[in-house]
């Protein structure tokens, strides 16, 4: 122990303290502005699913008037054709829907993406549906990926902090996620690799990630099998008893305070509405989140003000979605389930948005 203490406070360490501080200051003073300048000069990294979908949307924003933005539960659950069919049946004909689901979408990413979509779709976009995004990364390796780095820039700091602070989690977990975010920001601000990527372009550039937009952004889970997807499916098939166990979690008492999260989502919906869009919150069926997202959806609905909330993660209201044959794994529906859900989502969204506009017209007339 004495040796260890001596190791910490050797004369070498003591005499090196001042130069070390100066070194760190000089490093930070050069690295941060250099990194920011290089970040500004660097193109957006090529991100799986996100980049090709964004490119497709920005190339032809007139093709869509309705966009669903969210996680893999949007990506694998929202079939645009079925949404359009459902909406048409409810009286909303001529909708053109795009699925902008991106797996693992976090709060900062969703904010950024929504802004890009709304900006590009100005004049065309009428309706936007957002999903409750995921919490921030919890793995150290996640702090240094291209995607994490892109969303660790100063523009995303506020959104990152909002997502962490609003997510219903214990303080230690929030601190841990904040630590990883700090690591990611530090990594980004250090500038590591930025100059190299710009100064030494690849002799033979990698093929960009492509995505087949034939189904307007939807992909049936399992149509492309990866080891990870196969493992999730296998786990679902190997443990049928868990399905009922998870269902039992619905409605169970919870000590988690979801008020902050509901406010977080409501603020985003209100901001979109203020820009003249019909905005809605979509809460996807998700067995693994039955103890949380249904409550969040209802909490948003119960906040003062008018908001459209499509809460499908409620076995009591939508029992049809909660039969094992419709599910691919414990968090995602298979294609049949996705089609059924999408049709219902289209019908529900049309009904609610029509009701909302009628209500708004009524309120406006009443005021007048």
């Amino acid at each position: 122990m004495q040796t260890l203490l001596r190791a910490l406070f050797t004369p070498q360490v003591r005499s090196g303290a001042k130069p070390a501080v100066l070194f760190a200051l000089a490093f930070a003073a050069v690295a941060a502005p250099l990194s920011l300048a290089l970040r500004a000069a660097a193109p957006m990294p090529d991100l799986v699913v996100l980049s090709p979908k964004l490119a497709a949307y920005e190339a032809a924003p007139e093709r869509y008037d309705t966009v669903f933005v969210g996680t893999s539960r949007t990506f694998y659950h929202i079939v645009p054709d079925e949404v359009e069919r459902g909406a048409a049946e409810a009286g909303c004909t001529g909708w053109n829907v795009m699925n902008f689901g991106v797996f693992g979408l976090t709060g900062a990413e969703e904010d950024w993406l929504v802004e890009r979509i709304v900006t590009a779709g100005e004049g065309h976009l009428q309706r936007i549906v957002i999903e409750d995004p995921l919490m921030n990364a919890r793995d150290f390796a996640d702090a240094t990926t291209d995607r994490a780095r892109f969303f660790s820039g100063p523009d995303s700091w506020q959104a990152q902090a909002d997502n962490i602070s609003s997510f219903p989690e214990s303080l230690p977990k929030r601190l841990y996620r904040s630590g990883i975010l700090g690591l990611g920001i530090g990594f980004d601000l250090s500038g590591v690799g930025r100059g190299a990527a710009l100064a030494f372009p690849s002799g033979k550039p990698d093929e960009p990630f492509t995505f087949e937009m034939r189904q307007d952004g939807f992909e049936a889970l399992g149509s492309l099998m990866t080891p990870d997807i196969a493992a999730r499916r296998q786990e679902f098939e190997d443990h049928p008893e868990r399905f009922e166990e998870m269902l039992a979690r619905y409605g169970a008492p919870s000590s988690e305070d979801i008020t902050a999260r509901a406010t977080y989502l409501a603020e985003r919906l209100d901001a979109l509405s203020a820009r003249g869009l019909t905005a809605a919150l979509y809460v996807s069926p998700d067995l693994a989140e039955l103890d949380r997202t249904p409550r969040t959806g209802e909490a948003v609905r119960n906040l003062p003000g008018e908001r459209i909330v499509m809460n499908f993660n409620r076995p009591d209201v939508h029992p049809d979605f909660f039969t094992p044959d419709l599910w691919f794994d414990f968090s995602h529906l298979g294609e049949a389930g996705a089609r059924r859900l999408s049709f219902e989502a289209g019908r529900d969204f049309c009904a609610r948005s029509t009701a909302e506009s009628t209500s708004q017209e009524f309120s406006a007339n009443a005021v007048r």
């Binding site: 040796t3 260890l4 070194f23 490093f27 690295a31 030494f200």
Partner: protein
């Protein structure tokens, strides 16, 4: 664990703190030896036994040198067994398949079809370096250059000391062992010089070598697809890559050892500014070239037995030096080309150069250009995956013609020129040393700023040192 990885910095910080916190030299050596085994085990713990075995044999053979003088013959036998053992370890892991394949090919030419035996062996990292160090210890002890170490720990420490364990420099027993007898003093450590040297090495490896590696790979993987200028640029880039990679590693190894209180001799001295091949070999991988000189070329007779024998010794040394790098005819050709150049230079010197006045600066520049050209020609065989590829690239390099149409990014030529200028300026003004001599405050500020700039130019991804494969 690479010197440029974050986990190495953590590892080194712990070892550094522990070593300087300990007062006992014995405990410092124990900690450093244990840390070296951890360092090596981080690659593949299975080969720790191999280092241990080499160490045990070296220790026993070293102690055999203390046998009474009437047992001279036995001592020589012990040394012989020790050297054969070390070379056998090297031969088994590195050359068995090469010689087995070559034997089968040769037998095939003779019309014979012997059974083919191939061993599926993983090449232990750094095996060429630590076996040579072991030989250095045994030979130096038996030559009486240093006394045999009674302590097994000392021999283990010398062979395994982590800064030089996996890619050199090959540290002579006679240089290193005397340093371990007394406790290193912090007051003798030139911290700034070590940090400056580490930064220089880091820059060479991470900012230069690792950035150009993908271009070199492109050219050497498919030379026929590229224009002549791109192929030539690729060859020159490889010359830069291997120099920055290996000398960068050596700089960092020397700096790490220095921070722990141990001095290693320089392993490189601006070799591409050499006016001839002989000087090149005094400046390139100095620890290997001097090892080969002292333990092979001179024992073979050196230049003491006439010009013909000198040339044979030179060629033998260079070809074996080529084979030291790996089991391939390409390395043999690489060594042959250097041996040939040395022989031609000596003959030129004997027959022509002595009769004329030196050409001064023009001669120097011409010599440097010719040497650089020849060294890069030899690098083609060092780097290309097969003999056929080597010959194809060499043809383009010599004739400046290629049927390919692909080109490397435009940045490569200005980059080559910039690196050449930096190399010359650094040699002329000793930039690294000048940085190390700054007063403490400017030094801290300058290194902080330079590190930030360097980090921005470190490409992401794992790229091991080229010399790890040797």
């Amino acid at each position: 664990m690479l010197f440029v990885e974050a986990r190495f910095f953590l590892f080194f910080a712990v070892v550094f703190g522990l070593v300087w916190a300990l007062r006992s030299n014995l405990w410092r050596k124990r900690v450093l030896t244990a840390a070296s085994y951890v360092f090596y085990g981080a690659w593949d713990w299975r080969f720790l036994g191999l280092i241990l075995m080499v160490t045990i044999v070296s220790y026993l053979v070293g102690n055999a040198a203390t046998w009474p003088s009437e047992q001279t013959k036995k001592r020589k036998w012990a040394l012989g067994i020790g050297i054969v053992f070390s070379l056998s370890v090297l031969g088994l892991f590195k050359y068995f398949n090469f010689f087995a394949d070559s034997f089968v090919d040769f037998a095939g030419l003779m019309g014979l079809t012997p059974g083919h035996v191939t061993l599926n062996l993983v090449l232990p990292v750094g095996i060429s370096f630590y076996t040579f160090q072991a030989i250095s210890y045994m030979v130096d002890v038996h030559r009486g250059v240093i006394a045999a170490k009674r302590s097994f720990l000392d021999v283990a420490f010398y062979i395994a000391f982590f800064p030089q364990l996996v890619a050199g420099p090959i540290v002579r027993a006679s240089d290193f062992i005397p340093q371990m007898d007394t406790a290193r003093r912090w007051a003798d450590v030139n911290v700034q010089a070590c940090i400056a040297l580490f930064l220089v090495g880091f820059f060479k490896k991470a900012c230069v070598s690792d950035n150009i590696a993908p271009y070199v790979d492109l050219i050497f993987n498919d030379p026929s697809a590229y224009t002549a200028s791109s192929v030539i640029a690729g060859v020159l880039l490889y010359g830069i890559q291997i120099y920055c990679d290996f000398s960068g590693y050596s700089d960092m190894a020397i700096a790490c050892a220095g921070l722990l209180g141990y001095r290693f001799a320089a392993n490189f001295n601006s070799p591409y500014l050499s006016p001839d091949i002989q000087v090149f070999w005094r400046r390139w991988h100095i620890s290997l070239s001097s090892w080969l000189r002292d333990y092979l070329y001179i024992p073979l007779g050196g230049n003491r037995k006439g010009n013909m024998r000198r040339d044979v010794n030179l060629m033998t040394t260079m070809v074996l030096g080529g084979l030291w790098h790996g089991a391939s005819f390409n390395f043999v050709i690489w060594g042959f080309l250097h041996g040939l150049a040395l022989m031609v230079e000596r003959t030129w010197s004997d027959l022509v150069a002595k009769r004329f006045k030196p050409m001064g600066a023009i001669g120097l520049i011409l010599g440097m250009a010719l040497t650089f050209y020849w060294v890069n020609l030899a690098w083609i065989f060092f780097r290309a995956p097969t003999l056929e590829e080597s010959l194809a690239i060499a043809r383009t390099y010599v004739t400046f013609s290629s049927e390919g149409t692909d080109v490397l990014p435009a940045i490569v030529w200005p980059f080559i020129i910039a690196i050449a200028a930096l190399h010359a300026i650094s040699y002329r003004f000793k930039l690294g040393e000048a940085l190390g001599k700054l007063p403490a405050t400017p030094f801290a500020l300058a290194t902080g700023a330079l590190t930030a700039i360097a980090l921005a130019f470190v490409p992401l991804g794992y790229r091991p040192f080229i010399y790890f494969q040797f």
